[in-house]
Amino acid sequence: MSPSSLYSHHVLCSSIPLSKNVQSFFSAFCTEENIEQSISYLDQEQLESSRREMIGLQERDRQLQCKNRNLHQLLKNEKDEVQKLQNIIASRATQYNHDMKRKEREYNKLKERLHQLVMNKKDRKIAMDVLNYVGRADGKRGSWRTGKTEARNEDEMYKILLNDYEYRQKQILMENAELKKVLQQMKKEMISLLSPQKQKPRERADDSTTVLSDVEDDAGEVSRESVWDLSCAAVREQLTNSIRTQWRILKSHVEKLDNQVSKVHLDGFNEDDVISRQDHEQETEKLELEIQQCKEMIKTQQQLLQQQLTTASDDDTTSLLRDCYLLEEKERLKEEWSLFKEQKKNFERERRSFTEAAIRLGLERKAFEEERASWLKQQFLNMTTFDPQNSENVKLFSAFSGTDSDRDTLTVHSRPRQRQPHSVCRRSPVSTSKLTKSLPTSPASDFGQTRSCASEHSSSNALNITHEEAKPNQVGRECLSQSRSLVPRPGSQEGCYNGCPLTCTNSHVEEDNLL
């Protein structure tokens, strides 16, 4: 290009950031021929600008230095003034002291004079008037002041001082020992903190090796604990130096960790086992929220509980609330009720079956009796002359017709089988009452009739009587009556009494067993 264009460019770009302009300029006009020319032009530019810069800075520097000098001068002046004032004060103080001393000397002279006058005046009215001298506080006699006592006083004084020093030294030793212990503990803990580094390979292997070597050294020293009890300077220094080195290592370790953390922040998740701070914070926030919620829940529950215990709300709710306290008991009650109901049902069932059985029994009995009656009739018609059996039958009859009071003896005599109807009757009182309802009679009449029956051998009467005798309330009687009813009918003879009651009772028993 032409030099004129170069010149115009040169005028335009005269300020400092020349590099870009220069480059563009360079690319604009620079050709292979012009290189050296352009370079020389550029160099001139730079030189000019830098020269101007330097001048500006120099000017500033000069100004600042001027200011500095002025300030220094001011400071010096102030200092000088302060010094001068101090000197003035000092000189005034010495002057005052001197004056004071002079006055004091004068005053002392006066005092001496006065003292002399006072002592000489001899206005010694008894200076001390005491009724009687008092004993010493410790009860001992006063002792003369001799050289011995003086020496003793000195000794005592030194003893007191020594005691005090010893006491203080003991205190300081104790404090020292404690502090040493603390330092040792710190050292151990620091070592343990730093030793896991052996496993994890991190950057700067050199540092870690120094750590290891230090750790090994110190580990060896730890065993020599007795050494620390000495308080000589060398040992003291050792301990403090080792603490210092450990602390330095710990500090560098912590700094490393800090750097890592910051790196992680910048680069993202590099390590798996490093949790980013954000995640950690989020977790903690979540946990805090949870805790808050749980606390609130607990609070509300507590409030509700309080309300229940103290306030009286409307009836429904109070009854509900009251009910809920007895819930457990209610449940139990329910269970027991159900059990009871079941049992009741079972009992009902049993009862029904018993009644049915008793009805059946009654019916069967009726049928059976009718049969027997017919059979007895036949027998009676067949057999008419059995006397010994009659007498036995009479005995039996009398046995059957016995009163209540004689029952026991009768039962003793009577055959054991006859007892069973008693027990049978007891098991089904209801059924017997049903049977015998229709046959009420008075007891007296029973006895009378039975006796008469017994004597007359009129079984029909007896039978009638037995039927009539039966009463619902008297179980025993019923049994008897039943057993009597089992006694063969009028149709049957005494002889049959032997067999029939047996058979009857047997059958009855059997039937009973069937039940």
């Binding site: 004071m100 008037d129 008092v134 010493r136 506080a137 410790d138």
Partner: protein
């Protein structure tokens, strides 16, 4: 809380006996000894002149009554009421009088501090100590009563003499490196003596019992220096209060400062509790209650009920601007007291006169600030428990403990201005002294069988 009835008193002279059984009080020239539990007068003694100072002997058997105007000291015995003892200093005059720790010697300081006379009640001997220093606290006894340190001044130089109290032998005599010694105090363990210089020079010197200089401490130059000094009960700390409003605590091992406790006018730390005293019933406008007007006008602060309120941060406290052209300005930490269990330190910064600052010694930081409605006149720790009683010259007594604080009005007809407090050695009762009266405050009410 029970208050006893009010008894007459003069000169704020009311003291419990060291064994805690009796209470001595004086009215003008009469000395009354009462039993503490019943407040019945056991003995009544009459002195020759108005009593300015009373002191119990250490074994509670004797009481000395000093009458400075007449230069007389009279000693009374409790066991033998008709025993009498009168010490007349004559024309030498009397400025101060105190017991020795064994309770058998009386040390009288004559006028102009010409000498100290040691009178013995056991023997006829009299000792003289020349050149005692006329300063705030020139005599101090160790807690076990073995040694006495005395500040002396000869040829414009300060000296310290250590005496053995049992036979008054001079044990040590050494020069103190001070310009103008103002006070000396033994540490509670009796092995270190703190010596501090005039307020024109900040200097604290620590001497051992045998006279060696252990350490010297100086916080700054030229400004007004030390105003008050207090040892902690365990002798571990020495608190130095100075005119710049700060307390510096020195430790007993290195005698170097471990912390500076500042008293700022504005407190902004939420960990500190600030209790402000406030009136319970704010005064009504006079127009509202015409019939109550004359009473309301006459009503002073002492009759209104007050209570404490916890103030919210930031709290700004009432400050006094000190007058700069006068000597002994009311600035700086003028009163300090450690609690007996060593846990707390109560201080008062004189340019914030209404506030009591309570510092936690374990943590070496401010714990509680109590701001009253009137300037605090006196505060005392309970000797048994951590409890602080404060009196402001009003009709209330204030109690603070770590559990809380309360303001109790003294139920007395008329005005009762609590000017001084005195705890019993068991911590109950607390004697409240006013100009003309005193009463006892029983803090734990006992329910006796009746």
């Amino acid at each position: 809380m029970n208050f006893s009835e009010v008894f007459k008193l003069s000169g704020l002279l009311s003291k419990f006996s060291p064994d805690g059984k009796y209470l001595a009080s004086c009215v003008q020239y009469r000395l009354a000894v009462r039993e503490v539990s019943t407040l019945q007068i056991l003995q009544l003694y009459t002195c020759l002149d108005q009593i300015q100072h009373i002191e119990w002997s250490a074994d509670s058997l004797f009481i000395l009554c000093a009458m400075y105007k007449r230069g007389l000291v009279q000693v009374w015995s409790l066991e033998q009421p008709d025993w009498h003892c009168k010490i007349d200093e004559g024309s030498a005059g009397l400025v101060a009088s105190c017991w020795s720790p064994d309770g058998r010697h009386i040390l009288n300081t004559t006028e102009f501090h010409l000498r100290i006379t040691v009178w013995s009640l056991c023997t006829k001997s009299v000792s003289y100590i020349k050149y005692p220093k006329a300063c705030q606290q020139g005599i101090t006894f160790t807690r076990d009563g073995r040694y006495m340190a005395l500040a002396e001044r000869r040829d414009c130089k300060d000296y310290i003499s250590v005496f053995v109290c049992s036979d008054w032998q001079l044990l040590r005599h050494f020069e103190a490196d001070t310009q103008d010694l103002v006070g000396i105090e033994w540490a509670p363990n009796g092995c270190v003596l703190a010596v501090w210089d005039t307020c024109l020079e900040y200097k604290i010197l620590l001497y051992s019992l045998d006279g060696r200089l252990l350490a010297s401490y100086c916080a700054y130059e030229w400004s007004l220096g030390v105003k008050s000094v207090a040892w902690s009960p365990s002798s571990q700390f020495l608190a130095v209060g100075s005119y710049d409003g700060k307390v510096r605590i020195l430790n007993h091992v290195t005698w170097k400062m471990i912390t500076e406790l500042a008293h700022p006018t504005t407190i902004n730390n939420p960990k500190i509790i600030v209790y402000k005293e406030a009136e319970k019933n704010p005064k009504l406008g006079l127009g509202a209650l015409p019939f109550a007007a004359p009473r309301a006008a006459a009503r002073s602060l002492s009759t209104t009920e007050t209570k404490y309120e916890v103030a919210s941060m930031p709290v700004s406290l009432q400050t006094l601007k000190p007058v700069t052209d006068r000597a002994n300005p009311r600035i700086g930490v003028g009163t300090m007291a450690f609690s007996p269990d060593n846990y707390f330190l109560a201080t008062r910064n004189d340019n914030i006169p209404n506030a009591v600052w309570i510092w936690d010694v374990q943590k070496l930081r401010l714990f509680v600030v109590l701001e009253q409605l009137a300037p605090v006149r006196t505060f005392q720790w309970d000797p048994q428990q951590t409890r602080l009683a404060i009196g402001t010259g009003g009709g209330h007594v204030y109690l603070w403990s770590p559990a809380g604080c309360m303001s109790v009005q003294v139920p007395v007809e008329g005005d009762f201005h609590v000017l001084a407090l005195c705890w019993h050695l068991s911590g109950d009762p607390l004697a409240l002294l006013s100009k003309d009266h005193f009463c006892l405050c029983f803090l734990e009410t006992q329910e006796g069988p009746a």
